[in-house]
């Protein structure tokens, strides 16, 4: 039996879909069989971030309504043997599925896959309830902003109420130079306020925009600062003990060399 992990945040635009795409691809890079489920029905996006938008035939709602078999709706990523996507329906809404159907779907997928990653929609309504229904554990994505951290706190409370305990936190889009001059909350501040375990830190990285333009997750590019951070998170989720390395505002030659050789932090 594989593990079902939901990637959630409350607030929109903090990087749930990007995180899901990169962690999923990261699992495939270490040879794990993984499926990414886009639970954002009506606003599907994981397909374009993954560069698989042209290959969609059936979607999640087709599966739950019995229009096709589960295997027919899964898109295999041709670049990575063990990576699959189950796209969301674009022309339906959140009420097209219910939590019971999502539980059933997650159960079936976890029989075939090592990891099932669910990309949760923003908000706390039906879409959120559907997305978390079948999850064994939850990963919360936030950014170092008041609004995102506030929403993360709300999500932690709602997950708790649904019996999903001990969610893990990813702090996305950290800008070390701003942290250094005291103009951005640092990791300790956020962890202290939210009182959850830290899973990883992703630095702000222009390459994320480029990789989304291209439909190739940044994790495969060793020159991307975020890549190492995503790889470390994948290893942590896979049960390895990978120490957290704190970021510095590094523009020095050593850190550039390090990054060049793929030893970035995170």
């Amino acid at each position: 039996m594989g593990e079902v992990i939901v990637i959630t945040s409350g607030k929109g635009g903090v990087g749930k879909t990007t995180t899901t795409a990169n962690l999923g691809t990261g699992f495939a890079l270490i040879g794990k069989k993984v499926v990414l489920v886009d639970a954002d029905i009506g606003l599907r996006n994981l397909d374009v971030v993954m560069g698989l938008e042209n290959r969609i035939v059936y979607d999640l709602v087709d599966v739950t309504e019995g229009n096709c078999r589960l295997k027919q709706a899964l898109i295999r990523d041709k670049r990575y043997e063990t990576l699959y996507l189950l796209p969301a329906a674009q022309t339906r809404d959140k009420n097209a599925v219910n939590p019971e159907q999502m539980k059933q779907l997650c159960r079936e997928l976890s029989e075939d896959f090592d990891y099932v990653l669910i990309d949760c929609p923003a908000g706390i309504e039906q879409g959120f309830k559907n997305a978390i229904a079948g999850a064994d554990r939850a990963v919360i994505v936030t950014t170092p902003e008041v609004s995102a951290v506030r929403d993360a706190d709300r999500i932690i409370g709602l997950l708790e109420a649904e019996g999903k305990h001990n969610p893990k936190l990813i702090v996305n889009r950290i800008r070390p130079s701003m942290v250094k001059r005291g103009d951005m909350m640092d990791i300790d501040d956020i962890i202290d306020i939210l009182a959850v375990d830290l899973l990883g830190i992703i630095p702000e990285d222009e390459y994320i925009v480029i990789s989304t333009n291209r439909g190739e997750p940044a994790v495969v590019n060793p020159a991307s600062a975020a890549s190492t951070a995503y790889k470390n998170i994948v290893r942590r989720l896979n049960g390895e003990n990978v120490p957290l390395i704190k970021f510095d505002a590094n523009n020095g030659i050593v850190s550039k060399l390090k990054r060049f050789f793929g030893f970035g932090e995170g």
Binding site: E145, V146, D153, R181, G182, M184, M185
Partner: protein, 92 residues
């Protein structure tokens, strides 16, 4: 002196992160106890009624907030007093 140098270098000793943390803490206390702004307003009005029996207060400058102290939630009120009312008797 160090502050001055830091300011000259464009680094303020106290950046905006402290403001962010303080605002976040306050907003989360209210979120977590799940009370409406209306609820706090009612509380404030009742407090004014009671306190006004004893002293004249500046209602406009009055602040009533919940805050987090270590493990528990506390109600913190800042109420500027204009004048004491001598010989006040408790109402009922």
């Amino acid at each position: 002196m160090l502050d001055l140098i830091q300011k000259m270098l464009g680094r303020e000793a106290n950046g905006s992160k402290q403001i962010a943390k303080d605002r976040l803490r306050l907003v989360l206390v209210h979120d977590r106890v799940n009370v409406s702004p209306q609820f706090m307003e009612f509380l404030k009005e009742d407090m004014i009624k009671v306190i006004s029996n004893y002293m004249e207060i500046n209602e406009r400058e009055m602040e009533v907030n919940l805050t987090q102290t270590n493990s528990s939630v506390a109600l913190v009120a800042s109420i500027p007093v204009n004048r004491m009312k001598r010989g006040a008797v408790p109402a009922e």
